[in-house]
């Protein structure tokens, strides 16, 4: 075997642990979207919300631009969101957004580590649509949560 082929085999072998690494919770866990209901005419349905999360719809029904707060790879909701919304896993979600942002199609989402961070982002910017891994114990006023 040539040195080149040997190195290729070694490289592939080194990659295998990444492929079979544990991915955490998948389709079984809950998933919620959170958004401000302060703006007028803001009555999105589930399909509309999903298109926003997929970067296909750029604005709310009231015309304001959508901003997104998605779970980062440190969040328990990372793979659940990747599975339920993006049809794969957390990596699928990240890649779709990397592709969109650097194709010039969309503004980058905020990838946040915890549900509390996502809620904070929604409170700070009323045009943010956030993804949560669980229903908050106490819901701040002016915020609406829907299960996906």
């Amino acid at each position: 075997m040539k040195l080149r082929e040997l190195l290729l085999v070694v490289l592939i072998a080194c990659c295998m642990p990444f492929v079979f690494a544990s991915e955490g919770p998948g389709t079984g866990a809950g998933l919620f979207v959170v958004f401000s209901d302060n703006a007028s005419n803001r009555t999105p349905d589930a399909a509309m919300l999903k298109r926003m999360l997929l970067g296909q719809l750029f604005e709310w029904p009231d015309g304001n631009r959508v901003r997104l707060a998605l779970p980062s790879s440190k969040s328990p909701a990372y793979n659940v969101a990747g599975s339920r919304i993006f049809g794969g896993n957390g990596r699928t979600m990240t890649r779709l957004w990397l592709q969109k942002v650097f194709s010039g199609e969309s503004r980058a989402p905020a990838f946040l580590d915890t549900d509390a961070d996502v809620l904070d982002e929604v409170m700070r910017n009323p045009n943010t649509l956030g993804v949560l891994g669980s229903m908050p114990d106490e819901l701040p006023s002016g915020v609406r949560v829907m299960e996906l």
């Binding site: 040195l3 080149r4 190195l7 290729l8 490289l11 592939i12 080194c14 990659c15 990444f18 492929v19 991915e23 399909a47 999903k50 298109r51 997929l54 296909q56 719809l57 750029f58 604005e59 015309g63 304001n64 631009r65 901003r67 997104l68 707060a69 980062s72 790879s73 440190k74 049809g87 794969g88 896993n89 957390g90 990596r91 699928t92 990240t94 890649r95 957004w97 990397l98 592709q99 942002v101 650097f102 194709s103 010039g104 503004r107 980058a108 989402p109 905020a110 990838f111 946040l112 580590d113 982002e121 700070r124 910017n125 045009n127």
Partner: protein
Amino acid sequence: MLRLVFCAAVALHSSVALSESNHMTSNSGDNSFDWNIYSHLEGYLNDIHSTQGKDDYFILGESTFFLSGNFGDELSILYEGTYQPKRYRDDVLKSERWQIRYALPKNHYLIVGKNHTPVTHWNDSFHHGRLFYPSISRPLSLDKFVPLHDSAVRVGARSLGEHGFFYDLSLGSGHRYENKFFSNGVLSETVSVGLQSEIGNVVRLGWHRNAAHRVGHGITTTPLEFHSNHHLMGGMVAHDHPEVLDVLTVIAMSVRLELGRVELLTEAAVSDGSRDTENNRALYQYLGYRLTDNIVPYAVIDWLKLERGLGLRAGVESRSGVGVKIMLTDSADLKLESLRHRDGTKNNTPAAVEFRMQLSVSLK
């Protein structure tokens, strides 16, 4: 060789480390900037060891640098440049795209600048970073008779209505002048329409017309020939004495489907020229099966029939075979392919069985 393997290991390590952090700039605040670098290593072996076959290689592929910025909710900019060492291509640095995008009401937008011609799904969806390509190589038709770039003014919309109708209308400078913004007026037009479902299934029809000046003493170029010569002949440019307009029309259809674990991408294109010998045809067919969320074996067929063009001979080029895409991390992929490749557009290159490996990474 060892240096390249070392680079691969460093790139993989970097992508793992970075994948653990947040991937993109926070969208808080009105203005934001973001950057990224995509790169890949590519290995190639074939079963023909003659002077006519390609030599085996293991190279650093095209590295792509991105800079994007948002100014408020409506205005954004994007720059895409590529780098490849001198020994692999003539132009070490190239500006691939620069564009200013303004978000219009009702999911519409306006783009001004050098952008990817939206005539096919592939060209409109994938940038130069190889990480997102479903197969190692892009369809053979791209940059042959299906145009890659255009300096243009483009208006379009996404997700109109419940069926996700979208469209793009673009007026451009033409391929000869893709780096000279409307220096000779409007020489290309593109219309693209389609439907995109919620899960990303896409059907798209594209129409593109491009005019190019016939130049020199009876020397003519197809619209993309100039562009291709620029690549193939070390930047050789014909003398610029506009006399006659040659027109090339491209019609393309793209279908992207996800049916459970099955992924399908079809890119078909035909062209018709104002001269008799420009009827080109191409078909790219990808069929993948998501074995796990991170492993996708696939089959690919890519076929191109050129009647004329590009400084290459007329003829048929085809690639077909199988491959596997392994998603290593959020930002690193390994693709392996075994293809039968026949290139009748070059000097009777015999068919060869090729083995390709590509490690593609995003550094962010």
